[in-house]
Each structure stands twice: as C-alpha cells, then as structure tokens.
C-alpha cells in the first residue's frame, strides 16, 4: 500500500514549495525522468481522493492544495473571507475562463456591454491577469484566468470548469462564437 518512491519524493517537494512547480523542475530536483514524474503525479492524484488534500495544476505547473470540500474548516482556521462577486463580474469571468485568451473587445462583444469595471475588479482580485498583447491591430491585451482563480473556485485545473449546456442542450463547447 506504499506509494512509489518517486511519488513520495514529488509529494515532499510539492509540500514545501510555496508556489506551483513545473514537471520539469520536479524531475530535475528529484533526479527522475519526466515520464516517471508524470506517473507519480497521477498516482498522487489517485491517492488524494477522499482525503483533505488534492493536486491542482495549470498547464504543467503543479501544487498541492486543500480539498474544496474542506473549505469551511480551513476558512474557519485561517479566518478567510468569502469571495463575493456581482453577477456582472461573474459574467465577465465566465467569458474569460471559457474563452481564454480573450481580449476586452471580445468580452464586450459577447456580453454586449462595456466591461472596463468588471475587468478591473477581477484583476484587482487576482482572478484574471493580462497574459500579453495579441498580434493584431492595436495590439490589445489578452486576458486569462490565474492560479488564484482555480483555487477560489475549487477547480483542480481548467479542464474541471463546469460544463454548461447551451439552450438547445448542445454542449456549449461545440458552439462557435461569431468573431467580434
């Protein structure tokens, strides 16, 4: 019932790391191959099922976090505040989360309203961030969600975003948006 030696080493390193660690850095640190590390991460993910911990990742950066179901206990201990967002801010966040990387003009085209205020609100809460400039006329900023977003919404990764059915019952992922 023991985890593999690689999984144990990965767990120890992720435990002391105070920020997400890439698979490449994990491999370098513990002197294992990237493939073995990948398997170890899968193993850890499996082992954390039903415990107080879970593995969170964005792209190839990994971190151990507390399981979302434990949030009330952890929040009590830390005295953490509840996140509150207006429905306008949630709409903008939804566009950014599901459509990233996305420009302000694209968000506004989808929502049909000016989004300056909600974008600033989300940025000051560190839920979204400027990713860089798009190579397009005017070089607009592209926005995407952050690590804090995953944490605040208890998502193990962007793949865990709730799947929402469009009005017809078509999976929304199949919809194409008209370009703004």
């Amino acid at each position: 019932m023991t985890r593999s030696a690689v999984a144990a080493a990965v767990e120890a390193v992720l435990f002391v790391a105070e920020k997400p660690v890439s698979r490449a850095e994990l491999a370098r640190t513990i002197g294992a191959g990237a493939k073995a590390v990948g398997e170890a991460l899968g193993e850890l993910e499996e082992w954390y099922r039903g415990t107080g911990l879970r593995l969170q990742h964005e792209g190839d950066d990994w971190q151990i976090v507390t399981a979302p179901e434990m949030a009330p206990h952890v929040a009590t201990y830390l005295g953490a505040d509840r996140l509150r967002l207006s429905s306008a801010a949630l709409e903008t966040l939804a566009v950014v989360a599901y459509r990233q990387p996305v420009t302000r003009a694209e968000v506004e085209s989808i929502r049909g309203v000016n989004c300056d205020q909600t974008i600033y609100t989300l940025m000051s809460r560190r839920l979204i961030a400027e990713l860089g400039r798009r190579e397009a006329p005017g070089s607009p900023f592209e926005y995407g969600t952050t690590w804090e977003f995953l944490e605040c919404f208890g998502l193990a990764s962007l793949d865990a975003l709730p799947t929402v059915l469009s009005p017809e019952g078509v999976r929304s992922e199949d919809e194409r948006v008209p370009s703004p």
Partner: protein, 244 residues
Amino acid sequence: MPVGPRPPDVSIVGFEGPLDLLLELVEEKKLDIFTMRLGDLADEYLARVRRMAVLPADEVSAFLYIASRLVLLKARSLLPSLTPAANDEELDTEEELRLRLIEYATTKGRAEALGDRMRAGERAFHREGGTVELPPKGGDPDALAAAWLKVMALTRRTQEDVEVPGERYSVEQRTAEIEALMAERPKVTFATLLGDRPTLGYAIVTFIALLDLYRRLAIDITQDELFGEIRIERKVQRMEGLTE
C-alpha cells in the same frame, strides 16, 4: 440634475445589458431561441427600453442599437423585398444576432455555474509555508520591484474606477475659469456655466466656486424666484483688484 457616475458593477434595472434584456423576453414568452423570429420582439423590446429613461446616454445607446436591429428585422419580415445591402449581410442578418444571443445565453449559464461554486464556498487553499526554518536567500530585488509596480498599477486603476471618471475639476481651477469668463462677459447664468451635459461633480464644483467668488465679493448672485434662473453679475472694481 444631470446623472452622476454610475456605481460600479450594478446591473441596470435587473438586466446586465441589451442582450440580457432580449434573452429575458425570449424566456418570458417561452419562445424557442433557435426558431423564433427575433423581429417579433421589436415592439416589446422598445417598450422596455422606453421605461429605462434613467440610464446614462451611452448605455441607452447600446439598448437602442439592439432595438433598431430588431425593428429592421421586423420590417424585413413585413416587406420581404427589403433585402439588406450586400456588404451589410454579414453584420445585419437575423442569424448573426441569434448566434450572439445563444452565445450570451451560454455565457450566462456559465456565470451561474461559477456563481454556484462561489456561493458554495468550496475553494482550495495552498500552503504559504512556515514549517521550513531555512534562512531564506537569493531574493531578487527586481522581482520585488515588479511586484510593487503591479500592486500600484492595480490600486490606481481600482481607485480611478471608483472615483468620478473623466474630468476632475478642482474648485480653484473652476474659480479661475469663471473669473476669466466673467472678465469678458459681465453677466452669465448658472446654466451657461454648467454647459450642456454637466456631471454631478462638475455642477457641485462650479457651485462651490461661485459661492467662493461671492464670499470674496467678486460677484453678485440673484435669483428671482424659487428654481428660477440663477444670474451671476460681475462686481467691476473688485474683479480688477483680484486679477492683479
């Protein structure tokens, strides 16, 4: 009195925007978003927009834009010969508006799903460390400076958004402007000083500036009746004395 800045993040009379209002109408009438004729909603949509007289002009225009498209669609269904100009086809078809509406409906569903998660409060927490007692080393001053720059940029933006957007007038500056104006025109009305579409902040600053000039005996203020025109008259000698 003109409308001041709208408080941030407040939805307008229950709607997040023009597409939200349209979606609301579709849902109220239990119409099939994929097959209904959007032009049929033109009258109702306009009626709702008419009731929104309190909105700032720039926001009304977004509603009016959708309303005008609905009216156009309705007109086309009544007069099939009224076909769109070839180059407008991509922008102005019913299908394009329908796709936007469906996309918006999907976005709204996603926002609700995220909102449910937020309200459930089932979030994760990372460790900030603390059990490791090694003395830290290798800090990068540039990274620290970059973090400070980021914090400042975010702080600035948040404050600017909460404060009055656009022009910001100081009483001092406004007083000087009024003095300059009155050096040329001995009599003006308060309405003239306010201009066409003053913001609340601009009106208040102008009013305080006038009180200040009055206190300094530079001007006379008269008003014949309650809510009547406020007239401002220059006191010649004083004014010259002040502008030296």
